[in-house]
């Protein structure tokens, strides 16, 4: 019984009856043998008594001395700002900002992944009656352009590009530009079919509503590009 003193937490828990039977037995046996701990515990029980310490020779000057000492020590305490709120410790601002950023990023990523999944699902399903739109060249000359009437339910539509002139090239390229001239899509590797035309199947979600220009080019030796046809398209 001589080799340990329970921690104050354990002693207080014993007084409050919050220990397990084994812990309680150990602490109470210790209290029987240990004057220090038993008297400490009696003091805890007596601390709420207004008469506790009433007979102690303790003057108002002593109380002032205690306060002055405390005030001085707080002033020298480097870990706590004097009489600021060392209370309700909140996380540092940078941590809160990081958490908010991460939250936004995760939410954004989730939305993006969800939209990707929808797109993949859309493209994975077969589509019946997918519209096929023949585009005639002439937009470059200011002639009437083909208008693509894509049904609302269509997820895919196919453009058939009829070249204005024919020739043999190493490669063929299709490019779609918006009304402002900016390229929204471009791809090489097109091959002419048996009729000398080119086909291009697009998911509807690739292009939003609006007017577009479609250009078909042939790529010759040295990467030289020749325009084979330019088409107008409205979605």
């Amino acid at each position: 019984m001589k080799d340990f003193h329970p921690e104050p937490d354990e002693l207080a828990a014993d007084l409050a009856g919050e220990l397990s039977p084994e812990e309680e037995k150990r602490v109470q046996d210790h209290l029987v043998a240990c004057r220090e701990c038993s008297e400490l515990l009696l003091d805890l029980a007596a601390l709420g008594d207004p008469d506790y310490g009433a007979d102690e020779p303790f003057t108002p000057a002593d109380a002032d001395a205690v306060w002055e000492g405390v005030r001085k020590r707080i002033g020298h305490e480097e870990t706590v700002l004097p009489f600021r709120a060392p209370v309700r410790t909140s996380p540092p601002r940078w941590l809160a900002a990081l958490a908010a950023t991460l939250l936004v990023a995760v939410l954004g990523l989730s939305l993006w992944v969800a939209s990707l999944r929808r797109a993949v699902e859309d493209l994975s399903r077969p589509q019946i009656n997918a519209p096929v739109i023949d585009l005639q060249p002439g937009a470059r000359r200011g002639e009437a352009t083909a208008t693509a009437e894509v049904p609302a339910a269509a997820r895919l539509f196919t453009l058939v590009l009829l070249p204005e002139r024919r020739g043999t090239y190493e490669d063929y390229e299709a490019e779609i530009a918006g009304a402002d001239g900016a390229t929204v899509w471009r791809e090489r590797g097109l091959e002419p079919n048996a009729f000398g035309s080119f086909s291009l199947t697009l998911p509807r979600r690739t292009l939003g509503p609006g007017n577009y220009r479609v250009r078909l080019s042939g790529i010759g030796p040295g990467g030289r590009r020749e325009l084979l046809g330019e088409y107008g398209l409205r979605l």
């Binding site: 007084l15 043998a33 220090e36």
Partner: protein, 209 residues
Amino acid sequence: MGERSETALALLDELQAGGAGGHSAEESFRRLCGLYSRPLFHFFAKRGFPREDCLDLTQETFLGIYKGVGSFRREAGFETWLWKIATNAFRKRLRHGTADKRYGQEVSLDTGEAPEGEARELPAGTPAPGEDLLREERARLLRAAIERLPEQMRRCLQLRVYRDMKYREIAVLMRLSPETVKVHLFQARKRLQQELGNYFRELLPEDEG
């Protein structure tokens, strides 16, 4: 909860809020210190510290309160928290050896021997060595008989006989009512009297509460 404890909690709230009711957090803390300066000073004084040390330890305890005010758990009770900080300050100071030796000494109830390193002194009018041996033998019998008592009864008797504690103090430590302590002590004496017979009166005088 006592009135002082309630006031302390209200002042802690003010301190945490950075002041309230037209006065600053410093003023709230000053009032909190004022409430408990005397009890804390008494807590240290009764443990044998010199006056200056008592003032110093009281300040140290309040500093601990100030530093820990952000992590204070209200449900644990302010006075229990205060007591824990004071107890830690007391033990820390004790380790540095500035308290009087009159406090903090453990006495073994098992052997009745003097603390290590101290010679046992025979008081004036000490009986002859033969009588002393007899007395020690009787004391050994008494200790053995006490050890055989039921646990709670034994603890009550040991605190009463060896530590000369009052009923209400035993009741606090053992978390019993004073009446239950009385019953335990009465029954313990009865059992020991039956077991030890004539030795009993000499070794365990009548209890006067």
